[in-house]
């Protein structure tokens, strides 16, 4: 088991990514150094007891200066509080947690992200880029609008990776689902490993397409969490074949698509 830390981290930057997504850079050298792609951190900003529980966020980038970055999309009370943080504020950070992506040393990787699901894929792309030539890493991103898709794609493009977009409203890239981009890959571009993160229906589609074509597929999943440490058993997801449950915070968040019931 890797070391995990609980510490107070300072917000060193908080650029707005889209209307409802901010990027938080958190100074936490130990966590930043220990994290691997697909792992997550649990964050709490309240001084009071409401909201009570930490909220989980994928590590989306680590920097040489000891910071790690997360993308926070505003959903409810917890994320609203985090998105309202200012540079210099402190958060309570727990991590790195969970089982991340397994990375190959060769082959072609295809990263498929839906909306905020792009977050862990960015860190993955960062690390894959150290192992594979950029031309062997494809990135497919789906988003609601072109503006959101462009904003999410930007850091991938900064890594020199080609990104294909799909948007719900057709204002950038393919007008439709990101799974359709995956399904449309031509034989020369077939991946030897698919990585996916996004809303459940998207993951289910990507898992089905990958299984149909015989492409190994790793998915990063979500569940409501309390402890993040494998203790509370709150974060259960059904195991494939009806044989009980897996726990997202410990056996996941990254699973082989075949391990889960879709």
């Amino acid at each position: 088991m890797m070391a995990r830390y609980q510490l107070s981290a300072t917000v060193t930057a908080r650029p707005q990514v889209t209307g409802d997504i901010v990027r938080l850079a958190l100074l936490a050298p130990a966590v930043s150094q220990a994290a691997t792609p697909g792992q997550f951190v649990m964050v709490r900003s309240a001084v009071a007891l409401d909201p009570l529980l930490r909220r989980p966020f994928s590590v989306c980038r680590v920097n040489g200066d000891g910071t790690l970055e997360i993308l926070v999309k505003v959903i409810g009370q917890g994320t609203r509080g985090l998105a309202a943080l200012k540079v210099g504020d402190q958060v309570d950070l727990l991590g790195p947690l969970g089982h991340g992506f397994v990375m190959p040393d060769q082959g072609r990787a295809c990263l498929v992200g839906g909306g905020i699901g792009a977050a862990p894929l960015l860190f993955l792309a960062q690390k894959l880029g150290e192992r594979l030539p950029a031309s062997d890493i494809q990135v497919l991103l789906g988003a609601r609008t072109g503006a959101e898709a462009m904003a999410l794609a930007l850091p991938f493009r900064d890594l020199g990776l080609p990104v294909q977009l799909a948007t719900d409203d057709g204002t950038a890239g393919h007008h439709g689902l990101v799974g359709e981009l995956l399904a449309a890959l031509t034989s020369g571009a077939f991946p030897t490993q698919v990585y996916a993160c996004g809303p459940h229906p998207m993951l289910a589609a990507v898992a089905r397409i990958s299984t149909d074509r015989g492409w190994p597929c790793q998915v990063s999943t979500e569940a409501i969490m309390a402890c993040g440490l494998g203790a509370c058993l709150g974060c259960a997801v059904p195991r494939n074949g009806g044989r009980g449950y897996l726990h997202v915070c410990k056996q996941g968040p990254v699973f082989e698509a075949g391990e889960l019931q879709w």
């Binding site: 609980q6 009570l52 309570d92 409501i224 449950y245």
Partner: protein, 310 residues
């Protein structure tokens, strides 16, 4: 004027024939089997570790969603997922035994015979300090609710567990009753060496937009700071009703919370949901208790037990 923890400060308490190095235990279901928290809390530093509830056979637990946050609390309907007693003994207990932790095993069954069989099985194993009998978990249709809300049935389970094992027996009471003192007296009369309370309050949450329950199990157990006032009241009532030691549980997150429970009559406390908010909560509370004793110039934590000034 609080200096570092002085060696003269005495945090030891006695309970059900055991001497605990301090009165702070981790509550069942919130601390796994100790290993999950080992990066943050050496399990042997705690008064005791109460492990996740164990049944005879493995249980898969409830479908998700299993948890939901509520105002200053949370609901859970884990459904008592566990590996069963064999899995526990072979895969979970060794770590705690090797670390020298004081292990309390929380047990649950669907009928009196299950409890007796579990007690016998665990009494034969090395490294277990006591049993905590969970008659109160509201999540499982058989077992839980019925035993914990009826004094006669609670007494019956208590007697069966006592008869089947020589280990000290702590009976964990459900708060979902009209008369907690009656429950406490019933299990005391049946031979319980101590009682612990409270387990979770039965609650529910609904998503106004989807119109669905937020838990797949519809209802679940409420825990966390929200329930502390109810827990404290019940501990106070139970402690006045029985002569056996009482272990206070419910919303404890700080040393001040722990002191409140001791004053109300608890001999020790268990920390549950707070472990999720702060993985070091148990250790922080132990340190805070020492600081409290130093500040108030009290030599032993035992002086606080039941010392509420009315």
């Amino acid at each position: 004027m609080v200096s570092m923890v002085s060696h003269d400060l005495d945090l030891r308490v006695s309970l059900a024939g055991l001497t605990l190095k301090n009165p702070v235990m981790a509550a069942s279901g919130t601390f796994g089997y100790g290993k999950e928290f080992a990066d943050f809390v050496p399990p042997e530093a705690l008064g005791a570790v109460v492990v996740k509830g164990i049944s005879l056979a493995a249980r898969p637990g409830n479908p998700p969603p299993r948890i939901v946050e509520t105002a200053c609390g949370m609901l859970n309907a884990i459904g008592l997922e566990n590996e069963g007693v064999d899995g526990f003994l072979s895969r979970k207990l060794p770590f705690l035994r090797e670390r020298g932790a004081t292990v309390v095993v929380n047990i649950l069954g669907d009928c009196v015979e299950d409890y007796a069989a579990l007690a016998a099985r665990l009494a034969a194993a090395a490294g277990i300090a006591a049993l905590e009998v969970n008659i109160s978990c509201p999540n499982v249709r058989h077992g839980g609710v019925a035993f914990g809300t009826d004094p006669t049935m609670a007494a019956e389970v208590t007697r069966a567990v006592k008869a089947a094992s020589s280990l000290p027996v702590i009976v964990k009471l459900s708060p979902n009753v009209t008369d907690i003192a009656a429950m406490a007296r019933a299990v005391e009369a049946a031979g319980a060496d101590a009682i612990s309370l409270i387990n979770t309050l039965l609650g529910m949450a609904i998503d106004a937009n989807t119109r669905q329950p937020r838990l797949a199990n519809v209802v679940g157990g409420l825990s966390g700071p929200a329930i502390k006032p109810v827990a404290l009241r019940m501990v106070w009532q139970a402690a006045r009703a029985v002569a056996i030691p009482v272990i206070g549980i419910g919303g404890i997150a700080t040393a001040a919370d722990a002191v409140e429970f001791l004053l109300a009559g608890a001999t020790a406390v268990q920390v549950g949901t707070a472990n999720f908010v702060n993985p070091s909560a148990t250790l922080d509370i132990i340190t805070g208790l020492s600081a409290y004793l130093a500040t108030h110039q009290i030599a032993t934590v035992r002086e606080l037990i039941g010392a509420l000034q009315l």
